[in-house]
Symmetry: C2
Subunit: 254 residues, 2 copies
Amino acid sequence: MAKQVPRYHAIADDLRLQIEQGQLAPGQKLPSEEELTTAYDVSRNTVRLALGRLTDEGLLVSAQGRGSFVRERYEPAVWNWTTMESRSVHEANHTAGDQWASQIAANGHEPRQEIRVSIRRPPEDVALQLQLDPTTALTVVRERIRYVDHEPYALADSYFPEELVRNTPLMLPEDVSAPGGVLASAGLIQVRYSDEITVRMPTREESERLVLPAATPVAVHRRTGYDKDGKPLRVMITTLPGDRHVIRYDVSTE
Amino acid sequence: MAKQVPRYHAIADDLRLQIEQGQLAPGQKLPSEEELTTAYDVSRNTVRLALGRLTDEGLLVSAQGRGSFVRERYEPAVWNWTTMESRSVHEANHTAGDQWASQIAANGHEPRQEIRVSIRRPPEDVALQLQLDPTTALTVVRERIRYVDHEPYALADSYFPEELVRNTPLMLPEDVSAPGGVLASAGLIQVRYSDEITVRMPTREESERLVLPAATPVAVHRRTGYDKDGKPLRVMITTLPGDRHVIRYDVSTE
DNA sequence: TTGGCTGACTTGTTCCAACAAGCTGATGGC
DNA sequence: GCCATCAGCTTGTTGGAACAAGTCAGCCAA
């Protein structure tokens, strides 16, 4: 009746406890697999299974040739999506660059973003959300990778119906002011947003683009902006690594 | 120069492609490890590494004695947190049970929740959010497990400062009307919420309570309710499995 | 008919062994 | 002193083997 738990579960539990209690501090190197093999008197395979378990839980990272380490926690960035693109905030704050960049800079970090603009047929779900015909519609797509202190922090892809933004500054691959403002200058006023947040594991491609450690989930934040007639003006899909973001909303009861 | 990718990566890529293209449909059983061993001409170890990779990505589930299967997708439940506890909606809809239950029932599913009430010292972060002294404060804690069609769907733990809700219906371990309403009946009116959403892998305990398949991240939704003087009245922490929830907000620009 | 049991099949756990590949500090030549 | 090389340590990849444990269909006995 003692043998139900597999050895590698027990070893993982033991190491997890040491991490939680601080005997193994973030950033600290664990004993090598060879040492753990003798310490727990099991095969290297079993040790690796235990370490793999903790890696999956996001508690460890390992580097070939160097060792396994207790994972360090990021200081999460807080994104307030209630005020993120509200016009009042935006007008009070018309510095160069967009609002995201100024939020980051205000916190003493260095923002940077790479922007790629293209015109193409949108994915089907985006087309539906923009009330476009999925088989024929064209959209202007702005794909951004956002960096904080030279580390990738988020992917942010925006889709605009092509006929709405033809010949506007949105088609320039540069840091332009937040779309709330730029769209407004083109006569397109967003008065309402609908935000949907889903959670999942990253695809292999996202993993690489964001340099994610193993076992890091992502939040996908999808914001659709509408004008006063309820016509959708754009969709922005932001992919946020779970270990470095907090999504925030302020809600008033009506 | 052909040998950079490990065998088990290649096998995982091949199977992933088959899943994405539908040659392996959701719910379908994969060939046994033995069969894959001969099909790819590798050792069982290598096959298991490849399957483990797909399991980590949330594409497979396996069951001892039965086989490995392509994971089936849940129909996600949409939670609209903008209207979830607004008084206007609540008053228009004062059926028995809380608002969550009626939302679920309205979609043709069967809601159920288990509630446990206790009085105890809150975790430090909750105490801070409620502006209580972490070393002495007491809170009334309502811990709920919410089920939809007999499957666990979310954990929802609420914390109230003990002196605010002493001798109110909130201390009864029953389905009471949504706290917006019940708090209101005790003279505590929430006029503003602050919501914070974080994403992470579940702890082992959460995994078990929610019966989560491997590689399912959770969203943690933390709502703090304030009265008109800015005094925090309660904190509700909802833990949502990523594979069966969409979090939604409607935002108007001011 | 029913109930229990068995045997075949499947994934889970554990051991052993070997080589590949990335990293680091020490050695040694210039 | 400087720098390239290399030995030795570390994790990563792969093969092979055996037994444990869960599942299920089918057989057999009551």
